[in-house]
């Protein structure tokens, strides 16, 4: 009969006909047109026949053939909701295990989703409270020395930029210059408190919309020695007195309070407690040559507000011109100024010299990505389990369709069901979220400075949206599948529905889930390895049992004398910096005065006790020699590292001893050469470094302690500190702890990743459990018969588990290279000294996941395998 099967007419036309034509006419009309089509093939050829078919279909689009819109339809649909709801609820109860897996998985992943919504919504409110925030810009700087391009950008720029911009670039409404300032002591009557001071020029309040509570916004920062204080700090310093026009002492000079400003809100990148008029700072420093130089770009910030409808690219052009002009004055330095929108600061690129904490865009999006991945994984569970149960559900769908349900109705029924589940999950997720929130703050201490995670009605709206979105995502495929079920197939051939197509689909979802889980676990292993490596890294000097005490610019002589009395304290030294934790002092060094060949070096100013205390290894020469304060030979001592030696092409360390070098225009004499050590974090390459002799630093006191009772010793030191400096609370940490702190970001990554890994594995395991339960249930008879014929438990586990384990192996093959690549290129992008990973490190995660999966499979299979076959087969 099917010998000469003629080609069918254009499908779309037929579909269109079925769509518009009313039910009574559709069938015979289609048949009629089809008959003509067949006839036309014979007489006019296939092409023409197809064409006529299309024309006919279009021609029959007439008033009497077209379906009348069903007016009662939406109402019916609405009434059916109750029925849908009932069947859904019944189904959920009947399959409680599947429901539990679904709700738990969705709830866990949604709580992460909630956290992310919170986080993102707060991150993106940063600095938006400023009026015309979209017109405010900051000038960033990039620094190049002798053509050595350093890819880092600085948030700071030279004050020269600000002055020149006003003179040469049109379209600037307001501009303010800031100096970073420092934590400074402010004294009023007998009270002294340390406050975070920033110097700001007079248009500060025109550019920014910080709320000035008292004082004149135009003049508050104009006069010399004028201070604007935040309401919070004013309360601390003045109590209930009105702060305006009060005289205070700041670092030994007298200032007048000219204004009170509301404390900057949390979502401001610019934080301060005290604003000093920039003119005061400029006045005190303008006699220095460096002050007005182009490369004075390390602690000044320029912000400006563009006039309306001005093109910022014109300003950039102007900046390029200014940079070019200034750079032409120097042979070695190229400093470029760049525009950065205020709203692009947080989240934004990772800059040096920023005010306070920042949040990298990369970090934000990585978090979002991880969250979405976990969410999707939970949705897969839902999809898989729903499809798995499709045989049972399809009978219901068949009956519905026989009674006239349209595909869309079935679709919406299933979407409704998944949305219901996701709403239930949302309730659970909200509870979980409240627990998670506190945990989140402990991931990274900076988090608490950036976000509050407070619940608002607006956020609740987003939450509902999330739940609906998750419901849609989870229910989409099952709904599509069920809406396509054809009545005949379902009711006719109940047991022979072909599952092969969707079984592959389910396999792919499981594969993806396991790939994700493996990726997380491998990433955690790699990051952990790198973290351990960083902590135990041999820096080249001793950091054990050293306590670094911040001196807050006090002369430590009396403290040193007092501490020397303590028997636990072995040695004391002073330094301007604690190295190896990510902070640097930098300057220029030359071999001799005439040459332009200078190099940028990092340095630390120390006294004569520092090097022995830290156990640095000398290659040649010796330690600093203590001498009288005015002896220039004593004060010019410098000790350099091997890298600087190589940079200046001195062949052997011994040759260097006694040589003169120039460091920031001062002639220094090399006293010794040290073996290279890591003065930076290990993501920093070892480069030229010098220890400069300067006994009176007043920055850090390094205390070598040898005691069993650390706690008691700390207490004694603290008592001594209190007598020594009553203003500042003691700030001291052990060197090893500071190093740990410096690698805190690994810990943040680790915590986040291991948490995500935990979630991913949990969700995937739950999904696998569901699938195994489903598989064993549908193969119950087969398993029983096999058992009757003598299959062992192991045989059965192998039978059921083989397919799943194969999937897992495949997942591992996909996950390992991908993760390895991602971790190495994105997370460890900037690290110079990387730990090497062994094959075992990577396999460990894989083995753990495999073990969990195998356990899941065994658990369920063994349960089934142990049931007596007669109970199952008896009913046959």
């Amino acid at each position: 009969m099917k010998k000469n099967k003629l080609p069918l007419p254009p499908k779309w036309a037929t579909r269109f006909l079925r769509w518009y034509c009313n039910r009574q006419m559709a069938e015979d009309l289609e048949g009629d047109i089809h008959e003509f089509y067949l006839r036309n093939i014979k007489t006019k050829g296939l092409k023409m026949a197809r064409f006529i078919y299309v024309i006919d279909v279009l021609k029959f689009f007439r008033i009497y053939t077209v379906q009348k819109p069903k007016i009662n339809h939406p109402m019916n649909h609405f009434l059916l909701f109750k029925n849908y709801f009932q069947t859904s609820a019944r189904n959920l109860r009947q399959n409680w295990l599947f429901s539990l897996i679904n709700v738990a998985g969705l709830a866990i992943s949604m709580s992460v989703g909630l956290l992310l919504i919170f986080f993102i919504s707060e991150i993106y409110t940063f600095d938006t409270f400023h009026k015309d925030a979209d017109r405010i810009y900051r000038i960033n700087g990039s620094y190049e020395y002798l053509g050595k391009v350093d890819n880092s950008f600085y948030a700071s720029t030279s004050p020269v930029t600000g002055a020149k911009m006003l003179a040469s670039i049109p379209g600037i409404e307001h501009l303010t210059i800031l100096h970073r300032g420092a934590k400074s002591n402010v004294t009023y009557e007998n009270k002294t408190i340390p406050l975070q001071l920033r110097w700001a020029s007079d248009e500060f309040f025109d550019v920014f919309s910080f709320d000035l509570l008292a004082g004149n916004k135009n003049t508050a920062l104009t006069a010399l020695n004028a201070l604007v204080i935040t309401d919070e700090s004013a309360k601390k310093l003045f109590g209930d007195e009105t702060p305006i026009n009060k005289q205070v002492i700041l670092e030994g000079e007298s200032y007048i309070i000219t204004g009170v400003v509301a404390k900057p809100p949390m979502n401001s990148h610019l934080q301060f407690e005290l604003l000093g008029s920039y003119s005061t700072y400029a006045n005190a420093n303008k006699h220095h040559k460096w002050f007005s130089s182009w490369n004075n770009m390390w602690d000044h910030y320029v912000y400006f507000k563009l006039e309306e409808h001005q093109d910022p690219s014109l300003v950039q052009l102007g900046l390029d011109k200014i940079s070019e002009e200034e750079n032409s004055k120097s042979d070695y330095i190229v400093i470029k100024a760049h525009l950065q929108p205020l709203l692009g600061i947080i989240p934004g690129a990772n800059l040096n010299n920023t005010f306070g904490p920042t949040m990298e865009t990369k970090m934000v999006w990585t978090l979002v990505l991880l969250g979405i991945v976990v969410l999707i994984s939970a949705c897969f569970n839902y999809t898989n389990l729903s499809l798995g149960r499709s045989m049972r559900r399809s009978r219901e769908i068949g009956i519905r369709k026989v009674n006239g349900a349209s595909g869309f109705q079935v679709w919406s029924q299933f979407i409704l069901e998944s949305t219901l589940i996701s709403l239930v999950a949302l309730m659970v997720a909200l509870g979980l979220f409240l627990v998670l929130r506190n945990y989140f703050f402990t991931i990274d201490r900076r988090m608490a400075d950036i976000v509050t995670l407070q619940l608002t009605p607006e956020l609740m709206g987003y939450f509902l949206l999330l739940a609906v979105a998750v419901g849609l995502m989870a229910g989409f495929f099952p709904a599509l599948f069920f809406s396509k079920v054809t009545v005949l197939k379902v009711l006719n051939n109940m047991n022979r529905i072909k599952l092969s197509g969707q079984f592959n689909f389910k396999k792919i979802l499981i594969l993806l889930q396991y790939t994700i889980s493996l990726a997380f676990i491998i990433a955690v292993t790699l990051i952990y390895k790198q973290y351990r490596y960083s902590l135990s890294f041999d820096l080249g000097f001793n950091t054990e049992n050293i306590l670094n005490l911040n001196l807050f610019d006090n002369d430590p002589a009396t403290l040193v004398n007092e501490l020397k009395q303590l028997p636990e304290i072995k040695k004391l030294s002073q330094s301007s910096l604690v190295t190896s934790i990510g902070y640097y002092w930098g300057t220029q060094a030359k071999k001799s005065k005439g040459t332009p060949d200078s190099t940028s070096i990092k340095y630390n100013k120390v006294d004569e006790h520092y090097l022995p205390l830290h156990g640095h290894e000398f290659l040649a020469g010796g330690n600093f020699v203590k001498g009288s304060e005015n002896d220039s030979a004593v004060n010019n001592q410098v000790i350099i590292n091997e890298s600087l030696l190589k940079r200046f092409s001195i062949d052997t360390p011994d040759q260097a001893i006694g040589e003169e070098i120039i460091i920031s225009d001062d002639v220094k004499v090399i006293q010794g050469v040290l073996k290279d050590f890591h003065f930076g974090r290990i993501d920093y390459k070892i480069s030229p470094f010098a220890f400069i002799y300067e006994p009176a630093q007043n920055k850090y006191l390094n205390i070598l302690i040898n005691t069993a009772d650390v706690f008691g010793t700390m207490k004694k030191i603290e008592e001594a500190w209190k007598r020594f400096d009553p203003v500042h609370p003691m700030k001291a940490s052990f060197y090893d702890d500071q190093i740990k702190e410096a690698y805190k970001e690994y810990v943040s990554w680790l915590t986040i990743m291991s948490f995500m890994a935990f979630l991913a594995v949990t969700i995937a395991s739950m999904g696998l459990l569901g699938m195994v339960v489903f598989t064993t249930e549908s193969r119950l008879k087969e398993i029983s018969i096999r058992k009757v014929f003598g299959a062992s438990e192991f045989n059965l586990i192998y039978l059921v588990g083989r397919g799943f384990m194969l999937l897992l192996v495949l997942a591992a093959i996909v996950a390992i290279p991908l993760t390895y690549y991602y971790v190495n290129t994105v997370i460890f992008e900037e690290i110079v000294y990387k730990v090497s990973f062994s094959f075992f490190d990577i396999m460990m995660g894989v083995i753990i996941v495999m073990a969990i999966a195998l356990l899941t499979i065994c658990f369920e299979t063994v349960r089934v395998a142990r049931t007596n076959p007669s109970t199952i087969l008896r009913n046959e």
Partner: protein
Amino acid sequence: MKGSNLGEFEEVVLLAVATLDNQAYSVAIVDQLDEQIARKVKLGVVHAILNRLEKKGYLKSELGEPTAERGGKRKRYYSLTSGGFFAVNRSRELRQRLWDKIPSIVLENLK
């Protein structure tokens, strides 16, 4: 009873349905019109007329059994209702009455 007057084409279609006995479905009607009175009509026209006549109550229809032809679609078979028969019959009578009124002389001349 307004509208009991048939249009010319309506009448022809009704007659065609009647000639086809119980095999009258749209395509057959189109063919019948072509063969018997040499009128080439489009399916769409016939379909619309059949639909209109059914609404007027002159025709009734039912679906036949599915066959393998026509893409497995059933045919809709039309047959005359008594109203339909009355309408064509009346139309013929009216005409006949007019024929009968023609004087034989005129008839002779016209021939």
